[in-house]
């Protein structure tokens, strides 16, 4: 199956294309802002869910094999709704939520999977937020070693940059850092 013409917006997010990202804001920010403000949220909440929605798309769909099969706006809007709904649930305000599903994007065969996709993306966004929170609790040295390792630097290069004795010391440190990160994640996050 071919991809939707809006695939260009997903690709724009993946490569950080300023012009197309601004187009996403111009086309979709007003409707998200209006919906959030009509549903017990502020413009700042709207801005937050919009940005988290875009980030969720980046996390979930930035891979070579992903093909967008529906309008980008429909996906983004559903993810934003989901994120806002989860925020309200946390604050026990869900009873104020109106327009549960925006009919504008409803299409006979697509609405269920759209909601599922939005749910998955929102879950990924929550996972990401928790990874971010717990990563920040690692020591500066752990953070740096893990970042350098993710850049595919060799053990020797990392040892040199971090002033460690050799690559074995780096691997041992990376192992401890990952274990600590995992431990913090299990203590503070739910999967």
């Amino acid at each position: 199956m071919g991809s939707h013409p809006d695939q260009k917006y997903v690709e724009a997010l993946c490569r950080g294309d300023n012009r197309l990202i601004e187009e996403i804001y111009r086309k979709h920010a007003p409707e998200v802002r209006q919906w959030v403000c009509n549903n017990n949220g502020s413009p700042a909440d709207a801005q937050d869910v919009f940005q988290r929605g875009l980030m969720a798309i980046l996390i979930q769909y930035c891979r070579p094999d992903f093909r967008l099969t529906r309008p980008f706006g429909a996906l983004l809007f559903a993810i934003c709704q989901n994120l806002h709904r989860k925020g309200l649930r946390r604050n026990k305000q869900e009873e104020h939520l109106r327009n549960e599903v925006e009919m504008e994007y409803k299409d006979a065969e697509g609405v269920k999977s759209l909601l599922e996709e939005a749910e998955e993306a929102a879950e990924k966004s929550a996972l990401q937020a928790c990874l971010e929170k717990t990563f920040a609790q690692l020591t500066p040295l752990c953070q740096q070693a893990l970042r350098l390792n993710a850049e595919s630097l060799s053990g020797e290069a990392i040892a040199e940059q971090l002033g460690m004795s050799n690559r074995n010391a780096v691997y041992a440190r990376l192992h401890d850092c990952r274990n600590r990160w995992s431990q913090l994640f299990h203590q503070q996050c739910q999967r």
Partner: protein, 244 residues
């Protein structure tokens, strides 16, 4: 999960297992749920790290666009109508303006000092290190909740048996700085700043904050200039320099 399992996962994800070991791990993935979840978490961690530069770049782009499209009603907000005001309404408006000006003056008096605007510290996470009789969870908790006296005492005790732990030294210096015990803080930061480790920039940054708190802006600025391009503290250092 045992330490051996974590080592196995590391080697599996690094592609270091032979065919037989790899097949055994893959079989275990379908039968051992905690093991499978841990493998998935490690994959998520790797993906998180790999996408971090992209996310940071996007966050910067979003900041500018968010301001443009969400603040004050977004770009397509309607212009406010200009209404004619009666004398009474003008008086009311003038009084209101006076209150706003007085409020702004009060706010400028009460707003946090430059030091307070920049003294957000990384959380202390020492429990990855052996405790050796010191309850490190309590030391962490004390530091992370601002009980710096308690944290300083715990760190002193810990450092007596682990003098080589530079991260603990850094946090000892920060606790002392928060307690305004500059005679303890300055030598700690100075030694980190002059040491050849990845905490060098932290030494310079916190020494700069110490002088800022003491009111010596010149020394503060000089130290900020030492923080090199590419350091994770560089952006903060530039912002503080700008404020100075």
């Amino acid at each position: 999960m045992q330490e051996e399992d974590f080592k196995l996962i590391d080697r599996y994800l690094a592609g270091e297992l032979n065919e037989e070991e790899k097949a055994a791990v893959e079989a275990r993935l379908s039968t051992d749920e905690p093991f499978a979840q841990e493998v998935q978490l490690r994959r998520d961690m790797e993906q998180f790290l790999k996408q971090q530069p992209q996310r940071e770049q996007l966050k910067e782009q979003f900041a500018g666009l968010g301001e443009k499209y969400f603040a004050n009603g977004g770009s397509n907000r309607k212009e406010a109508k200009i209404l004619g005001l009666s004398r009474r309404q003008w008086l009311f408006a003038a009084s209101f303006a006076l209150i706003v000006v007085a409020g702004a003056l009060l706010y400028s008096q009460l707003r946090p000092s430059l030091y307070e605007q920049f003294n957000s510290h990384p959380p202390l996470a020492l429990t990855e290190k052996s405790s050796n009789g010191v309850n490190l969870s309590r030391v962490e908790q004390a530091f992370n909740t601002g009980r710096y006296r308690e944290a300083l005492d715990g760190l002193d005790q810990y450092l007596a048996s682990h003098p080589e732990d530079l991260t603990a030294q850094l946090f000892k210096g920060i606790a002392a700085l928060e307690l305004k015990q500059y005679d303890i803080a300055i030598p700690v930061f100075e030694s980190l700043r002059l040491g050849d480790t990845d905490l060098q920039d932290y030494g310079a940054w916190y020494l700069a904050l110490t002088y800022l708190r003491q009111g010596d802006r010149k020394k503060c600025r000089e130290l900020l200039e030492e923080i090199p391009e590419g350091s994770e503290l560089r952006e903060r250092a530039e912002r503080l320099s700008g404020e100075l």
